[in-house]
């Protein structure tokens, strides 16, 4: 899952180091436009349903946070 997620992220923003960046939103590296683009990709790839209530900065601040969101929605 992690590899696939990083692949999606890198495709979207090849300029960002997703492995080491733990403040993607707080630093302004990912912005709301990126999140909207990500949501569709993540929903399709991981068969989940990210909706507006999940579009919170803390859910997208790091790869780990996004994985936690995916796992929560897959349960």
């Amino acid at each position: 899952m992690r590899e696939k997620l990083i692949e999606i992220l890198a495709d979207l923003r090849p300029d960002i180091d997703f492995e080491n960046n733990k403040e993607l939103i707080d630093n302004g590296d990912l912005e709301s436009l990126d999140i909207v683009a990500l949501v569709g990709e993540m929903n399709d790839e991981f068969d989940i349903d990210i909706t507006v209530e999940h579009l919170l900065p803390e859910n997208f601040n790091s790869v780990e946070a996004m994985i936690a969101l995916i796992e929560e929605l897959q349960e």
Partner: protein, 271 residues
């Protein structure tokens, strides 16, 4: 038209479209903070449609529309309302295809392009700031500047859509977001400097006193915003400007702002 009363309700309504059709097209995805703000100002409504749902943000002189519709709809009949309806698309090199498909359908539904804004960004650590003239002093605006600032804002936009309501203005004042250029007791210009994240600020509501147009007030305001941004530790500032507003684009261009590839297109369906 029914009101949206909670963020959860908004989420459920959009989920219902996806559940019914499997997927949807939309022109913009509102963030929870935006939904909360609209709900807090009692201005978010929805209209169920055969092909999905239309959310309306009820501004003073127009509605801002947010469509969620099934992908295979060929045409959209949009009923005329008692105020113009504006639909916005924000597009960058990271735009996903569904937004473009939605824009195509809006055009087919007889909306016309109303304004195209572009986003410009300045990297603060790469700029040598010009000195500000001593004619003016800079202050964070509060209640004593309110009347003059509102008067300037009212001239900014034909729909008066962007003027913050009283409570929102007061909060901006408390949060030290309203930068003001004054000469004596006269407000010569003002803008809002908003924090996007710890590295980024954004500029909104740039207004110059009509009696001082052409006196370099706008440029001084931007320089002041950049100084304030640097003091706050921002690495960059961005702002939206009408693509056709050459005066503003020239001013900010001279200060190092460059187009970052992000475009906002607003389409309007008039009454």
């Amino acid at each position: 038209m029914e009101s949206v009363d909670t963020v959860q309700q908004y989420a459920e309504l959009t989920k219902a479209v996806k559940k019914k059709y499997g997927s949807y097209l939309y022109n913009a995805m509102l963030m929870p903070s935006q939904v909360s703000q609209f709900i807090g100002e009692s201005k978010l409504y929805y209209i169920p449609r055969e092909e999905g749902i239309l959310f309306l943000c009820n501004e003073k002189d127009f509605y801002k529309g947010y469509f969620f519709i099934k992908e295979d709809v060929d045409t959209m009949e949009v009923e005329k309302m008692n105020k113009p309806l504006i639909v916005e698309f924000v597009i960058s090199n990271r735009t996903i295809v569904p937004v473009e498909q939605m824009e195509h359908r809006i055009r087919q539904a007889n909306f016309e392009l109303y304004v195209e804004n572009i986003r410009t960004v300045v990297e603060l650590d790469q700029q040598v700031l010009p000195e500000r003239t001593s004619d003016f002093f800079i202050t964070w605006a509060g209640s004593s500047e309110k009347e003059q600032i509102y008067s300037m804002w009212e001239q900014l936009d034909p729909y008066d859509s962007i003027i913050p309501r009283e409570k929102v203005y007061d909060k901006m004042g408390e949060d030290k977001e309203l930068l003001c250029l004054k000469r004596g007791n006269t407000v010569c210009g003002a803008l809002r400097l908003k924090e996007e994240n710890k590295n980024t600020g954004s500029i909104w509501l740039v207004a110059v006193n009509p009696s001082m147009q052409g006196a370099g007030v706008g440029r001084q305001l931007y320089v002041a915003a950049m100084e304030a941004g640097i003091k706050r530790g921002y690495k960059r500032l961005w702002q939206w400007a009408d693509r056709k507003n050459q005066r503003v684009l020239k001013t900010v261009g001279q200060l190092g702002f460059i187009f970052d590839g992000t475009v906002s297109r607003e389409y309007i369906l008039t009454q």
